[in-house]
Assembly symmetry: C2
Homo-oligomer: 300 residues x 2
DNA sequence: ACTGGATATCTTGTTTTGCGATATCGGGAG
DNA sequence: CTCCCGATATCGCAAAACAAGATATCCAGT
């Protein structure tokens, strides 16, 4: 059994047919068939059920598939690790929440890009759920998300600490005023953003349950709706500071227990930390105002 | 880059020479040289420094070596996972502390061996440190050790709960009596056994520090020395029960906080749990008197 | 300069891999 | 029932990779 064999095995399993796999692997069908049969012979087990519309995995094949993927990833990572000579360069794909990207990352990215021009940095924004999945699937080297995520395959480290504030159209004395408005809506990021859960919890603890939600994809959109009186939202203080100064919205601070939220950097526990990522993280830690002793390390 | 290439790379790196590697791989030196050179060419980096007494790794080679090992382990594990059809069979290598092996495992092993005759079970005894290393290095599928071990690559689960007792030659009213004997020794397992650390802590909290130690490799040897008045030891109550009933030694119970210790089963977090191991663990959990709610799971 | 222990290179035979063509199988339409 | 379509299985041949042995080379110690 060999890494090459596993590569064709994975392709056949995923595409459900040897013809399709052959096309994807830039080879011919007879070749794929031969290698699969050889693999089955050496393992002494049949890996696929053959039928008229292609092939499906046997139970033994199902057990093998995850290993094929892991071996593939490991080899790719090994290649990257060997090529990496300690100087940050090459691709660096990281993810971030949109709020973090807007509020915290600009100075970080600016100085990083200036000092390491050979790094091709790609920043993908998304919700905590989406980003965690992408990191777990090896598609991103790491991401800034709302913590803690507590995923067994991921290591996390607190980088920023945000103060969340309730944002409304006009100042209110007491949250109870919100209750009077039956048409109250919470305006939040699309499903998966942790701020949404936090807002629900804040309102629920004050007796407001089952409030209707309005999903939005951008900070500006959310603030626009809030300013128009459609509903309330929960965002980091820094993000709404500009809109607040301009008088477009009103902010309301919350007790520390409810307002404080950590932005963590997550990465796969077992993945290679490229020089580019190491330098990026180092700079992120320096720029962050996060108190050193409270930092949760990867060993946690 | 291929799994086979990494296998010869790892052999060369570990043995420090292509001749030695060729011998171990059952091939000839020219072959090894060729494959290494090809590997270096495809990676675009030199992996070894050649000199008159063999080869040593370059920094790039040092980065690659751990991946070579991991790929090797992963492939071996994949083979096992495919062959494993759900019925426990084949080799099962587990480790255990000697005390646990003597006190808890006999009924477990007896019933397991009776129900699964196709499993070739090998039990290796050692200290917590040794066993943890062996499990981490993939040499054992799992082991019973003193917990918690808190190793990032290992998952642990509490199985047994032991009550440790202080063992002396003759009954004493108060621990202070021990202080009078200037020649007092602690008689413990060889370095690495957690019981030793616990005993040091127990004595230290009562003002006895710097007590001389005597290392021993077997429970019987330790009890013999204690009975002869050479010193004191700390062992699970059940282990010394027989010697105590015969009047050879005296036991002294300790406060719960000091006496209670968990025996955990550790295994690699990322390793495949063979059917043989799954059945073994299942039976261990059933036999154990460990309270179910307090069980720390692998997810911890 | 010689020697012992090491890697590099070259040649040749063997094995593996890749490709193309063809055989085979199984279900659905006519 | 037969034909056809979309699959996999099998075979022969060429190309590439690999293994083995013989030989060249390099380097330190004597």
């Amino acid at each position: 059994m060999d890494a090459g064999d596993l590569r064709v095995f994975a392709a056949v399993a995923r595409l459900g047919g040897m013809n399709r796999a052959a096309a994807q692997l830039n080879t011919v069908q007879s070749n794929v068939t031969a290698r699969i049969r050889l693999l089955e012979a050496t393992l002494g087990t049949s890996l696929f059920h053959r039928h008229s519309r292609g092939v499906t995995l046997t139970v033994a094949g199902q057990r093998l598939l995850p290993y094929a993927d892991r071996v593939g990833h490991l080899l790719a990572e090994a290649r990257r690790a060997v090529v990496d000579d300690g100087k940050p360069k090459g691709p660096l794909n990281v993810g971030s929440l949109e709020t973090t990207a807007g509020l915290r990352l600009p100075p970080l990215l600016a100085s990083y890009a200036a000092d390491y021009p050979e790094v091709d940095l790609v920043l993908k924004t998304g919700t905590t759920c989406e980003l965690v999945e992408e990191v777990a699937a090896h598609h991103l080297e790491g991401a800034f998300v709302c913590g803690p995520v507590d995923h067994p395959e991921l290591a996390e480290e607190a980088i920023f600490s945000e103060e969340l504030v309730l944002v409304t159209a006009r100042p209110i004395r007491h949250l109870d005023e919100l209750l009077r408005k039956s048409s109250l809506k919470t305006i939040v990021f699309r499903a998966g953003c942790s701020y949404r859960d936090r807002l629900d919890a804040v309102l629920a603890s004050r007796g407001m349950v089952g409030v209707r939600r309005l999903d939005f994809g951008s900070v500006e959109g959310i603030l626009g709706c809030v300013a128009a009186g459609v509903g309330v939202t929960l965002l980091p203080k820094g993000v709404v500071a500009a809109a607040w100064r301009e008088g477009r919205v009103a902010v309301h601070e919350l007790p520390v227990a409810e307002s404080q939220i950590d932005t963590m950097f997550v990465r796969r526990r077992d993945a290679y930390v490229s020089s580019a990522l190491a330098a990026f993280l180092d700079r992120a830690r320096r720029i962050s105002a996060y108190p050193a002793p409270g930092r949760a390390d990867a060993a946690e």
